[in-house]
Symmetry: C2
Subunit: 294 residues, 2 copies
């Protein structure tokens, strides 16, 4: 098993264990709501955001596994966003990761509420984080809420929704992705670093890594949407194209998109240089995700 | 002008001023999202939750107007819940307070996102509260997120949605209202008290006030839904009955519901006794809302 795979398996076990215990301790009433939340929370996600948070803490010499509540809250926020994005009023997707989407199983009303519940509960989970100065915890959770909110993920989704059938210019497309996907990656990585006591220079370098990572990740996603196959990625291939959505591929064609992704990867690796071997996991995650074929 | 009216006008001006300044400072991009959020945020709400928060702070000898960020965050959470509750997948209401509902103006997708944006931004607004110990702020915001989440408001809405066409038993009906409406009232009042430094006895008394207040408020609402008139309350009268929803009136008939409301009011007033004149506003709010005819 590769070092990265072992690291991820270990962290995924911790995150999923934490989330399961949290849901159990909640009492799970009303059962329908908890069932709907659990359905999407345990639908086979990569747990990328919490893993990035923990790996960023490790990179500055901390111990990422001490920040499970904040890390798990990031996964709850990510999961809520998928549930709402899939709704008929948004992207109208029936399948995700090869499984029926939340609203196809529970109906639109419960799916909206399962998303609302996960988003709201993410904040109680994150604010239950111990062994961190309360002032630092307030700062971190506030930064996460900004990243997930109107100036971040929600704003990005609005631009995405409003741009169907239109070709966006490069600036708007970049803003959209930086907001919709990038902001939460950035907040994950910065949160891990801040929680673990990063100094301002380390934080600046990891922020640059995070932004280049987000860009590379999104371009790769757009490329895979075109060249992937339905079996491999578990959702309808070319769905972005069918909905006439602007993507890096529609803007720059495949070759242009590929060279932009390569440049972002190079910039991200450069930002990690000062951290030496402690940032190996962050390097491996980046390379794995941007060279994946599914 | 009555003392209560003057108090409320003063606080409403502060809250709305704060919310306007907050939205302006945000940059308001994407404009469609900020327009949709502002549409519901300034649709003529009573600002009851932030006023209760401030009045509870006053009741324990603090100054409620020092806690505008947390108070305004409560209003943002309340507003998001109205937007989502009105959606076709939920209560399917076209009008609220005499105005078209958010999704009737902006469409379901943007309405869902405007709600998501308000909910998420509420946490960044609340966590920007200054002049409070960070540990206390973490505690208060965490309690608010629990009250707004699956064990509180979201859970109550799930039970409400799942109960259409069914008669609920008293226990379930009480749980539903305590969760859907009561939890946010309770969190508002407790937050104001905690932020202003209430001791544990004061907090216990105000918690009892809050719970009885919530009960009295909801029963009054159910009664008004039956006896009110469309012009007066600005929404379709009897809509709860038409949807076959369980209410205190459907369970106990009008007279039974009225005597239950009276008992709750008496209990709430009793809980305020130790506070003397400092709790006058909390008394007046209770009596005003439970004797209103619209």
């Amino acid at each position: 098993m590769t070092v990265l795979k072992a690291y991820c398996q270990d962290k995924i076990q911790l995150i999923e264990g934490y989330l399961k215990k949290y849901l159990e301790a909640e009492g799970q009433y009303p059962p329908l709501l908890y069932e709907a939340m659990a359905y999407s929370l345990f639908a086979g996600g990569k747990r990328l955001r919490p893993i990035l948070l923990m790996a960023a803490a490790d990179a500055v010499g901390g111990r990422g596994d001490q920040f499970l509540p904040v890390a798990s809250g990031m996964e709850m926020i990510h999961t809520y966003s998928l549930i709402h994005d899939d709704l008929p009023a948004m992207d109208n997707d029936d399948y995700r990761r090869g499984k029926l989407t939340n609203h196809k199983v529970y109906g639109d009303g419960i799916a909206i509420l399962a998303g609302d519940g996960l988003l709201t509960a993410a904040f109680s989970v994150m604010l239950s984080q111990e062994n961190v100065e309360p002032a630092v915890l307030c700062q971190v959770v506030r930064e996460i809420s900004v990243a997930a909110g109107p100036r971040g993920m929600v704003g990005g989704q609005v631009v995405d929704l409003a741009s169907e059938g239109k070709m966006l210019d490069e600036e708007t497309l970049k803003w959209m992705h930086a907001a919709k996907t990038g902001a939460l990656f950035r907040a994950s990585i910065r949160s891990g670093a801040i929680l673990a006591g990063a100094d301002s220079e380390q934080l600046q370098q990891l922020t640059e890594y995070a932004e280049q990572f987000g860009l590379a990740f999104q371009i790769t996603d757009d490329i895979l949407d075109v060249v992937g196959s339905q079996e491999k990625i578990g959702k309808s291939v070319g769905s972005d194209q069918r909905n006439d959505k602007a993507t890096y591929v529609s803007l720059y064609a495949l070759d242009g998109a590929r060279s932009k992704a390569d440049a972002a990867v190079a910039n991200a690796l450069k930002a990690l240089e000062p951290f030496g071997a402690q940032a190996d996991i962050l390097r491996k995650i980046l390379l794995y995700l941007t060279t994946r074929e599914e």
